[in-house]
Symmetry: C3
Subunit: 191 residues, 3 copies
């Protein structure tokens, strides 16, 4: 009898421990969450801005500009006020000519006179065997920083309801016409 009682006490001890651990981590769950991505993805995308002479392969165009600007040349004062719409190919490596795995679609607006910065609103749209669905992004892009973080504000399909952080890096650029971005997407909310 004493032996079973001891066994019972030991089991009970672990149960109690579980109980308090459970309620404790639940309380913490509201405040501190693990910053461990549930998914990480790396892509490149390629932006070729229309300049009046490259209609054939341009993937982006200026569609809004300040009083001192126009729609074929990025404006003075660090392009402040230029609104650019894009439909850029997404590739797995840094080669513009690799087979695209999706499209980056949306806009950016240059928003500072003294330096290059932009505000981004766009989506990655996938429709391949690998990925179906979209990832939606928004945030400030201080272009001159080596890396910049923007928000993953939602997703659909394979990326249903996701949230996270996308780290942008300018991988290459040629004049004011072509630039290539590397994006590392870390998703912290997966459903």
């Amino acid at each position: 009898m004493a032996k079973s009682f001891l066994a019972l006490a030991i089991i009970l001890y672990f149960c109690l421990f579980q109980c308090f651990a459970a309620s404790g981590s639940m309380r913490k769950a509201k405040r501190i969450r693990a910053r461990i991505p549930c998914k990480t993805l790396v892509f490149y995308f390629h932006d070729i801005i229309y300049n009046g002479h490259n209609a054939g392969n341009a993937t982006a165009a200026i569609v809004g500009a300040p009083a001192w600007g126009n729609m074929t040349i990025l404006a003075s004062q660090n392009h402040f006020g230029d609104l650019v719409v894009f439909d850029d190919p997404i590739t797995l490596d840094n080669n513009l000519h690799s087979t695209p795995v999706g499209r980056a679609q949306g806009f950016y607006i240059y928003d500072k006179k003294e330096i290059f910065t932009a505000w981004l609103g766009f989506s990655f749209v996938f429709n391949s065997t690998e990925h179906k669905g979209s990832i939606n992004f928004a945030g400030a892009d201080p272009l001159m920083n080596k890396t910049r973080d923007i928000s993953v504000i939602g997703g659909t399909g394979d990326f249903f309801m996701t949230r996270g952080i996308a780290t942008l890096m300018t991988d290459a650029f040629e004049g004011e016409v072509y630039f290539r971005l590397r994006v590392e997407i870390n998703l912290y909310e997966c459903w």
Copy 2:
């Protein structure tokens, strides 16, 4: 004594089960969440684009366009680059003349040369006895698909902090001036 001991053991068994179930589902909660909406809403909204001749009843206007476009005619190349601002009535059925229950306010940008696609940023704004507050949306809209999913990125008032998915469907259109969208909103985070 043996009997009470048995009863105690049984209770303990269930407690242990609870303990492990609780800690287990908590661990899972971080990874897999139920895709069951906490709220579903269906609305229609009606977009009448200003074309130079319909100032009286237009609810939308082109305010940005590429070099080859203008502000009264949607541009060639599938309207690529056209930025449209709207303040559209929201109705409960598909009748433009039904009493609006709110306004759909924001913008879309046509963003592909080869086919109709757009990027949307807008809100549903309600101020009735039924609903007070706003629902905020963002995402890619591949218009030619029968249904397309965008993200509900937030909300205020009755829709405080909500997140979810909105499924758009083109319910009708007339030329390039009027179109009507059906929206099914499934909210998966309700506060």
Copy 3:
């Protein structure tokens, strides 16, 4: 023996209580969450729209306008269709000349003909000892209301993955060139 048994029963009772409390609050956590901010911040930001004569101190510019508008004068019909890009100083008090603690960068679009309303997409960008990182906002701004709520849709750095509500208040304005907004940011998701 009977005494220890009693003690055991009492401990067990509390454990059971814990078990059920834990599983209960977890079930509720999915549905009803506490509307208690994990962080509250108050800032002011200052918008000076370019009007053709204030290039030196303008912080914003019209970059999109409807057919009846232009880039130096806000359009008739309550500025419907005007797209404004801004890079505004953020201050801790309501003084335009206080040392900025960050920049408010993004855009607003006036989106209603009958009254002043706008749709906002912007970020607060901080890079001081106090705050590093960004807060991203989106939502409808019915300017004529004393206070209006928009969504905090994400954040980076010190504001990693945050969500919440920002309450805007027009603190002052001068003609159609200068206006000052007070923003109270209540974050309900902190990581």
